[in-house]
């Protein structure tokens, strides 16, 4: 089983030492470096229950999950996948703000399963002075089955114009008569 990726992820073109991506540098179709999480443990689900306050016994008590919940045994909180994908997003966005993040759990996740989180930029546009990118996100288990699917919107800045930036065609400014 692979450990979750170390930070910064190997091979990432721009090491986010102090800032995240700039709007003009992001292309539609860009695939975020995937984040492969370690297999989920029952202890982890207990920690998640405590951290999130979600003490639905189906996530930690095998008997209740089987008999009262009817889910065939303990299963992970659906939104733990959202936490994992949140990590994927922030690893790429760094300090660029998320505006919106929505996710659906589409398959049951059990202890022992390892999720891989992925994302792809599907749109970029400007709206009300925000430079927005839309990222289609998801997670799949070690069998390749999709467990979560959703989207995120983030606002990216553009690089400030350098003062006195060279102009490509100075003759246009000098009003030279042509012909």
């Amino acid at each position: 089983m692979e450990a979750s990726q170390s930070f910064p992820p190997a091979g990432l073109a721009v090491a986010p030492a102090s800032h995240g991506p700039f709007f003009e540098e992001v292309q539609v179709g860009f695939e975020l470096p995937t984040v492969r999480k370690r297999p989920i443990t029952r202890l982890q689900l207990a920690k998640y229950a405590a951290a999130s306050g979600d003490f639905n016994p189906s996530h930690v008590d095998e008997e209740i999950a089987r008999e009262l919940g009817g889910m065939g045994g303990v299963f992970a909180h659906g939104m733990i996948g959202m936490g994992f994908i949140g990590e994927l997003l922030v690893r790429w966005l760094w300090d660029r703000p998320l505006r919106r993040f929505s996710l659906r759990a589409v398959a049951v996740v059990r202890p022992g399963e390892a999720l891989e989180c992925y994302g792809k930029v599907v749109r970029k546009w400007v709206e009300e002075e925000d430079n927005l990118v839309e990222i289609a996100v998801g997670a799949r288990n070690q069998r390749g089955e999709v467990t979560h699917t959703g989207t995120a919107l983030a606002a990216l800045p553009t690089r400030p114009l350098a003062p006195g930036a060279a102009v490509k065609h100075p003759y246009l400014l000098e009003h030279r008569v042509i012909g």
Binding site: N56, G86, D95, R96, S102, V106
Partner: protein, 149 residues
């Protein structure tokens, strides 16, 4: 019926809390997420955030009286709940030390076909987190399906 439809519109009272590094650390530990923006003051200070911020799903920890709301107003059984969907809208980052207030409200109750589970009762809660100036910081809509039988 697995759900009391009269629960529509019921809400918890506004609850005052403080965002703490301990809560952030506990969530990151459970997620096995060691991103320094959430826990290393020096690295976070060098970012545009200027300091440590809470991770994107931190709103899930705001749940004062949520269980009472679900059990009391909707009369649902906890083990039957499936938290299938969530949409979070961010207005401003949450930071350790922020004094905030939050409220949870049932905004939808109904029956629908889930792509994953078939036709089921469901409900949606809206969690709103505001600062002391009454400005929204983050809000989440969470949809739960209620298994039958």
């Amino acid at each position: 019926m697995a759900i009391n439809h009269d629960g529509l519109g019921r809400e918890t009272p506004w609850a005052e809390t403080v965002v703490t590094q301990e809560q952030i650390g506990a969530l990151c530990d459970a997620l096995e997420d060691d991103l320094p923006l959430f826990g290393d003051p020096a690295v976070a200070a060098a970012s545009a955030y200027g300091g440590i911020v809470a991770p994107p799903t931190f709103i899930n920890v705001f749940r004062r009286a949520k269980t009472e709301l679900l059990l009391g107003a909707l009369e649902v059984d906890l083990p039957k709940l499936l938290h299938g969907e969530q949409e979070i809208v961010y207005y401003a980052p949450l930071r350790p030390g922020d004094r905030v207030r939050h409220r949870i409200k049932i905004i939808e109750v109904g029956r629908k076909k889930s792509r994953t589970y078939g036709e089921l009762d469901y409900f949606t809660v809206l969690i709103t987190v505001k600062n002391r100036e009454d400005q929204k910081l983050v809000e989440a809509r969470q949809r739960f399906f209620v298994r039958e039988g």
